[in-house]
Symmetry: C2
Subunit: 518 residues, 2 copies
């Protein structure tokens, strides 16, 4: 290596040592450039309302603009931000836009952002307590804080023998709890029975459960998607759960795991947690309650009844990055028996041995999750709780619910539309009603057969028409065979006027598709 | 809900709508507070050198300081930052300190930090292309850019039918590739043979492999930890690999997966990639090459020989958050056959259907990883590559190697010490040599039996003594039964003077333990 000009871009610093020209973490340079990026982002929030919410670019657009290889040369933050503005921003779907009503929100906030900046700035790797004690201790504390706000039973808190951990997303939380339940069961019945284990969810359960089942190596033949219906507002019925278990036992299978949901992905249905847990208990089934979206609302007393019976579950999770003002990613998982997680997920190589671990006085979070390395996610959740406080947080959430109620009222008052399921939180599922839709559809496409297909197609046309305006972004779902439009309030910047405007867009698009005469 | 005072903390905005007092993403408030946090972090970097590198707090310290529950009231960023300074900073182990030489680095940089800020600021959720096209497109492009810098064969690039994806950490990359290989094999031989599948690594392989094997539901009885020795500098020998396979075949097992390492965790040993891949090919074994730490160095031509034969591997990963100036987390994974990943990991619920996916013209990264939701990690890696350019990045890495060489020279010139293995990158493994150490040890503790235990114990005492100064932080490893101290240069702020000072600390502590007369 002697022949390489190590110092081609170097200079002597004041102590006479050779350092690379401009240390990549030079504090004053960071200060200067950091301020520039803060202003860039503040301007972005000022303007985000003006951008088409759903990006209008074509596949492959970026490769046509940017070079094929990295440059040898360095470049300035000013040039890079210009490219971000010119080429990246148009390719973004603006989840922070006040006109974003799609999927579930990704509710950023000043506190969440600043917390992420601090955590990124410290850039510690908190795999075990010793690698950065504050990261572990703050996480334990903040999970207890949030657990108390949710009125979680003491058995999920550290003081009650349980505990909380921050994962990336719900997929990770479900995978880890599934693996914990699998290994606990196999240690009793033997590995040779692995292919008899059964995993339960409903047809409304998030696909994370299927993915976790695949990754955990369980037999997909034993993955049960229990049908729900409008009769139970797409919640999982006890009778169906019980009869599915009975059939499995009859067939010699072994029930293992149920993922119940508080606020399902498409229509925010709520599975009856308490009754399901009671049935599960009879068969020693591990119950995970996935409240990825709706869990946040449960810091408000008026929503806590949706979690009734949670004391019967083994684990519970919500995504603070969805509707709790904490930037992606931040999934809060509480478990009753951390030991089950630790047993399934721990590894203890020599090079991580340390006295704190040996003392058994600390939590080593590496054994509560898939990965060894972990970011300091607690910082942002702590900032959200500290900076806003419980009262403001509840009012933020209630303001979203109130806006969703307003939209619900708009829909109810237009006879061309129908609400598909009752609104539980801040998501409204609606569609052009079958009579109106099907009549019109026949004019467009004579190949449409049957009422359902017709009305589904006209609603799909409506959604495409709405989103192509760029003024708002909504998404769809299919429940009970019906194509529905989803209007989910939760973007932090959304105000009443955005909801009113969104409804106007829906009406204009509907007028065009259905004819003004409808 | 009518009885709740939704507007207790509200005011009327200029358009006459009710909004919660202070929107949580108010642009001007974000600007003001963002500048404050930038200054806080810049000051932190200015001062980080002065803090004890390894935190000196006791388990449970934070619970004693902070309240047991979240407050109902909001608080100011100024108050919160004061608490961060007073209570969080002392509990941090300062991975960004120039005196941090432990584990592997977590090399932050201005570009990495600003990239993370932008990505957090946009806060998009890029599970599929349509959810934010720029996030997906930039990721594909930047993975090709980095692949080319590493001189990866075309089969790992998108243009060559392969492709790259950003995961959180190597644990995730190994789990996903292991699951892909498992499912590909089982689709050929049938699920009933799952318990015959064998996973191979060496006794130096990262524990991520064991963890992935557990999570994937494979039988730990078939997890092979092939012994290495000083003879091969702790690299996995072809002969051992071959004979282990032969024994497995003899026993009716089915070889599945090898994790080879370029730069092992303790002593940065390099497994012979090319020869191992040739053996693996004979038995259709999936080879993953884990270059978590050392992969970054391979953008320098003089290190690329360590990857010779990589074209025979199925997948390759490195952690840009370790030694590539990209903040945690950012694991770069390239695969030759994305289809194998996608087959194992994809789920396609109705609510994610979209035209771009149907066109088959786009990558939907949700099917390349464990989780559905994903952050816009490409932004920070792109900023690192753009802002520094390949030449500077190579010189940054070379300056670290040069500093490690300097430390190596210090060790060589002190007859009390020995280098345990040859230095390959910027990590030096050293210890008090057996003769010196054991003699001294006998004076301290007469219960010590045998040379190895004695010298290990004296080296452990030395490390504890070094770290208790707070002036530097190093960690240990055990290889071939020997306790070694690791000195890993890679913290971005480290300069020559920090290395010189670290050696002085080692000498002073050694003087004290061994006596000045040694």
């Amino acid at each position: 290596m002697g022949s390489i000009d190590l110092y081609g871009e170097s200079e002597r610093n004041e102590t006479g040592c050779n350092i690379p020209f401009n240390n990549a973490l030079d504090p004053e340079e960071f200060r200067r450039q950091g301020h520039i990026v803060i202003d860039f982002l503040a301007d972005y929030y000022q303007n985000v309302e003006k951008y088409p919410v759903l990006s209008q670019v074509e596949p492959g657009y970026l490769r046509k603009i940017f070079p094929e290889s990295a440059s040898n040369n360095h470049d300035s933050i000013e040039n890079i931000l210009k490219d971000v503005q010119d080429y990246i921003v148009p390719g973004l779907t603006h989840w922070q836009s006040p006109n974003y009503f799609a999927y579930f929100p990704s509710s950023g906030s000043i506190a969440g952002l600043l917390g992420e900046m601090l955590s990124t700035g410290f850039n510690v790797v908190g795999f075990n307590w010793m690698a950065s004690p504050a990261a572990t201790e703050l996480e334990g504390m903040v999970m207890d804080w949030l657990g108390k706000l949710l009125n979680l039973p003491r058995c999920f808190l550290f003081a009650g023998g349980g505990g909380g951990v921050l994962h990336g997303t719900t997929c990770e939380a479900i995978l880890c709890t599934l693996v914990a339940s699998r290994d606990r069961m196999l240690s009793k019945i033997g590995r040779d029975k692995m292919d008899k284990l059964v995993v339960y969810g409903s047809d409304q359960t998030h696909c994370a459960l299927l993915k976790a089942t695949k990754i955990a190596g369980l037999d997909l033949k034993n993955f049960r998607t229990i049908k729900t219906s409008k009769l139970s507002n797409f919640g999982l019925s006890i009778e169906s759960f019980r009869s599915t278990i009975a059939a499995d036992l009859e067939a010699g299978h072994i029930p293992l795991f149920l993922c119940a949901t508080v606020g399902t992905t498409v229509c925010t249905a709520v599975d009856p947690v308490g009754p399901l847990c009671r049935v599960a208990k009879e068969f020693a089934i591990w119950v995970h309650v996935d409240a990825a979206y709706a869990g946040s609302a449960c810091i408000c007393p008026e929503f806590q009844h949706f979690m009734d019976g949670i004391e019967g579950a083994n684990s519970f999770s919500l995504n603070a990055h969805k509707w709790f003002f904490t930037t992606l990613d931040c999934c809060c998982l509480w478990v009753k028996e951390p030991k089950a997680l630790i047993k399934a997920l721990s590894t203890n190589p020599d090079y991580l041995n340390n006295k704190a671990t040996d003392s058994n006085q600390v939590v080593d979070y590496k054994d509560w999750q898939i990965c060894l390395s972990r970011r300091f996610r607690a910082m942002k959740l702590w900032l959200v709780l500290r900076m806003y406080g419980a009262t403001k947080l509840r009012n933020f959430l209630r303001s979203h619910v109130k806006m969703a109620m307003k939209f619900e009222e708009f829909v109810s008052n237009d006879k061309r539309f129908e609400l598909v399921v009752p609104r539980n939180f801040a998501t409204v599922c609606f569609r052009i009603s079958p009579l109106v839709g099907n009549d019109k559809m026949l004019k467009y496409d004579e190949e449409v057969i049957g009422d359902t297909e017709g009305v589904n197609k006209v609603n799909q046309m409506l959604l495409e028409s709405i989103n192509s305006t760029g003024q708002v972004y909504m998404t769809h779902g299919v429940i009970g065979g019906e194509y529905v439009l989803r209007f989910c309030v939760g973007a932090t910047l959304t105000e009443d006027r955005h909801v009113s405007n969104a409804w106007k867009v829906v009406q204009v698009c509907a007028d065009e598709i259905l004819g003004l005469d409808s």
